[in-house]
C-alpha cells in the first residue's frame, strides 16, 4: 500500500513538484469554476482556454519553450478574447456566447498554425497537453502567485458575484459594480487558465476548473461548501492521476482530468441530487410540512 500510494511522492522530486503544483491549481481554480458554472458560463471557460493558445504560440515563436514569455503571451491573448467578446455582445445584437465561440475558433486555428510553423508536433503536444512532470521553480512560483491573487480576488468579489448571479436586475438597481465585477472575474478565469496551462496545457486546464465544480453541484446546495468540495475533488483527482500516470506510464494531464471525469460520472449517478436518488426512487421520504 505504502509502496503504491506514498513511496512515489517520497522518492521523486519531480512528482513532489507536480503534486504541489496541481494542488495549488485545484485550490485556486476550483472556486472559480464553481462561479463560472453558477453564472452559466461553463463554456466560456472552455473558449477562453482556447483563446490563450495564440498568445502562447507567438511567444513560443520568439522565445521557444520558455515559461515567462509564454505565460505573458497567453494572459494577453486570453484577456483580449474576453474583452473582445464582451464588447461585441454589448455593442451588437450577438450574444456573448456566440462571439466567444467565433473568437476562440479563430484563436485556436491561429495558435496551432503558428506553433506548427516553427515547432515540432512534440512542441504542439506540450502546449496543448502540458508538462506537469516538468514543473520548475519558476513555474511553481507562478502557480503560487496566481493561487494567492485568485483567492484574494474571489474573496473580495464574493458577495458581488453571488448577488449578480442570483438576481442581476436587482443588483444593477442597487450597484454599479456589476460590469467591473464581471470583467474582474473574467480576469481571474484567464489567470487560472494560464496558471493551469503550464501543468495541464491549454486544453486540459479548463477541465480541472469545470469538472470538479460540475460534480460538486450534485452534492451540496450552498456556494461555500460547493467550492470546498470542488477543491477536494480536484485534489483527489490530481493525486490519483499522478499515481496512475506514474505506475502505468501514461500521460499525466489526461490521467488527472479523466479522474475528474470519473468523479463527475459517479456524482451524476449517486449524489443526493443525482439521477438515482432524485428519479429512480419511487417514493421519497418527505416532511409533513
Amino acid at each position: 500500500m505504502y509502496e503504491f500510494l506514498i513511496a512515489p511522492f517520497v522518492d521523486y522530486v519531480f512528482l513532489q513538484r507536480a503534486l504541489a503544483g496541481s494542488i495549488m491549481l485545484c485550490l485556486s481554480s476550483g472556486p472559480v469554476g464553481v462561479f463560472l458554472m453558477l453564472r452559466r458560463m461553463s463554456l466560456t471557460g472552455d473558449a477562453l482556454a482556447h483563446g490563450i493558445l495564440p498568445g502562447a504560440a507567438v511567444a513560443f515563436l520568439f522565445f521557444g519553450l520558455d515559461l515567462a514569455p509564454m505565460t505573458l503571451g497567453g494572459l494577453i491573448a486570453g484577456l483580449l478574447l474576453a474583452l473582445l467578446a464582451g464588447a461585441v455582445s454589448r455593442l451588437t445584437l450577438q450574444k456573448e456566447d456566440a462571439s466567444l465561440a467565433a473568437f476562440y475558433l479563430i484563436s485556436l486555428s491561429a495558435g496551432v498554425l503558428i506553433v506548427s510553423m516553427h515547432g515540432s508536433n512534440i512542441d504542439l503536444m506540450h502546449i496543448l497537453f502540458g508538462t506537469v512532470l516538468a514543473l520548475n521553480d519558476q513555474a511553481l512560483m507562478l502557480i503560487a502567485g496566481i493561487f494567492v491573487l485568485s483567492t484574494v480576488g474571489l474573496a473580495l468579489f464574493w458577495r458581488g458575484l453571488v448577488a449578480e448571479c442570483l438576481d442581476p436586475l436587482f443588483f444593477r438597481s442597487v450597484s454599479r459594480l456589476g460590469t467591473p465585477i464581471h470583467f474582474a472575474f473574467l480576469f481571474l478565469v484567464v489567470l487560472n487558465l494560464v496558471g493551469g496551462f503550464q501543468a495541464l496545457g491549454t486544453l486540459l486546464s479548463v477541465g480541472l476548473m469545470m469538472l470538479p465544480a460540475a460534480s460538486a453541484r450534485f452534492w451540496v446546495n450552498r456556494v461555500g461548501p460547493m467550492c470546498a468540495l470542488a477543491v477536494a475533488f480536484g485534489m483527489v483527482s490530481s493525486v490519483a492521476g499522478l499515481l496512475l500516470s506514474y505506475h502505468a506510464a501514461l500521460p499525466t494531464g489526461p490521467a488527472i482530468i479523466l479522474f475528474c471525469g470519473a468523479i463527475y460520472a459517479l456524482s451524476i449517478l449517486g449524489a443526493p441530487r443525482g439521477i438515482l436518488l432524485t428519479h429512480l426512487r419511487r417514493t421519497r421520504p418527505h416532511r409533513a410540512a
Binding site: L156, V162, L166, D167, L169, F170, S173, V174, R222
Partner: protein, 261 residues
C-alpha cells in the same frame, strides 16, 4: 396642490418640491422603437400609484427606466434628490436554481448599507429576522430558495424591499401567479408603506384590486391614455382607448415627429 398629474400638459421645467418623480417628455424604447412615448407628469411624494395597460404597453419599461436600468431615448426622469429606491422586478428575473438560502436572498436588501465588503452585523441579522417575520416567513431563513413556492418567494422578495428602507418602491407585477392569501398579506404591506409616506408604484393587471387599493393610476398604451384618480382613470371609455393600440412594433411605422414639433 392638485393630486392629479396632468397629461399633455407642457413639461414642467421648475422642479416640484413635493414630487418624488417628474417625467419630462420621456420616451423609452429598444432600438428605434419607442415603448413609452412622450410621457409628461409628476408622481407626488407618498403617492400610491398603479401602472396599468395591456402587455407591451410599456409598463415594465417605464419601471426599469425609473430604476435607472434603462437610459431614456429622449426626455428625462427627474428623481427627488437623495431618493432611496427599491426595485422589485418580475419574478422570472431571478435564478431560482442558484444555491442560496432565503437569508442570502433577503440580506441583499442591505446592499446599499453594507456594500461589497461590509460584513453583516448583529443588528442586521435582527433586521432580517424582523423583515422575514413581517412577511410571514418566520423560520424560513435557512430554506433553499429552490424549495419555495411562488408565493413564498414573493414574500421573501417583499422582505428584501422592507430591508431596503426605500423612499420610492417600484413593484413590477408583484401579484402574478400569487395565491389570494399571499396577495392579501402583501397588499397590507403595501398599504403600510403608503402609511409611512413612501412612494409606491406598482405594475398591476388585476383592475379590481387596483380600484380597491391604489388611489392613483397611470393607464399606459405606450403613451399615457389617462393618469390621475383611479376611478376616473379606469373609466370604460379610457379602457377602450387603451385596448385599441397595436401591440407589435411596426418596422414601417413613420418616424415620430413630435420631437421637432
Amino acid at each position: 396642490m392638485s393630486q392629479h398629474a396632468h397629461i399633455h400638459s407642457a413639461p414642467k421645467r421648475t422642479k416640484d418640491a413635493d414630487a418624488a418623480l417628474t417625467f419630462e417628455n420621456l420616451t423609452l424604447g429598444y432600438g428605434d422603437h419607442a415603448a413609452v412615448h412622450h410621457l409628461d407628469g409628476t408622481v407626488p411624494r407618498g403617492a400610491l400609484m398603479a401602472v396599468v395597460g395591456a402587455n407591451g404597453s410599456g409598463k415594465s419599461t417605464l419601471l426599469k427606466a425609473v430604476a435607472g436600468l434603462l437610459r431614456p431615448m429622449s426626455g428625462r426622469i427627474a428623481r427627488a434628490p437623495a431618493l432611496r429606491l427599491a426595485y422589485l422586478a418580475q419574478q422570472a428575473e431571478i435564478d431560482r436554481s442558484f444555491p442560496a438560502r432565503v437569508f442570502d436572498l433577503v440580506s441583499l436588501g442591505l446592499w446599499p448599507k453594507r456594500g461589497l465588503l461590509g460584513r453583516l452585523r448583529q443588528a442586521d441579522r435582527a433586521d432580517i429576522a424582523t423583515a422575514l417575520s413581517a412577511v410571514g416567513l418566520d423560520g424560513f431563513s435557512e430554506r433553499a430558495i429552490d424549495s419555495l413556492s411562488g408565493g413564498q418567494l414573493q414574500r421573501a422578495l417583499f422582505a428584501r424591499v422592507l430591508l431596503q428602507d426605500a423612499d420610492l418602491i417600484l413593484l413590477d407585477e408583484p401579484f402574478n401567479a400569487i395565491d389570494a392569501k399571499t396577495v392579501r398579506d402583501l397588499v397590507a404591506l403595501i398599504q403600510r408603506w403608503h402609511g409611512e409616506e413612501r412612494t409606491v408604484i406598482a405594475v398591476m393587471h388585476d383592475l379590481a384590486l387596483v380600484r380597491e387599493t391604489f388611489p392613483q393610476t397611470l393607464l399606459l398604451a405606450r403613451r399615457a391614455v389617462a393618469w390621475g384618480e383611479t376611478a376616473h382613470c379606469l373609466s370604460a371609455e379610457n379602457l377602450l382607448k387603451a385596448r385599441n393600440f397595436a401591440e407589435a412594433f411596426d418596422d414601417t411605422a413613420p418616424w415620430c415627429r413630435s420631437e421637432s414639433a
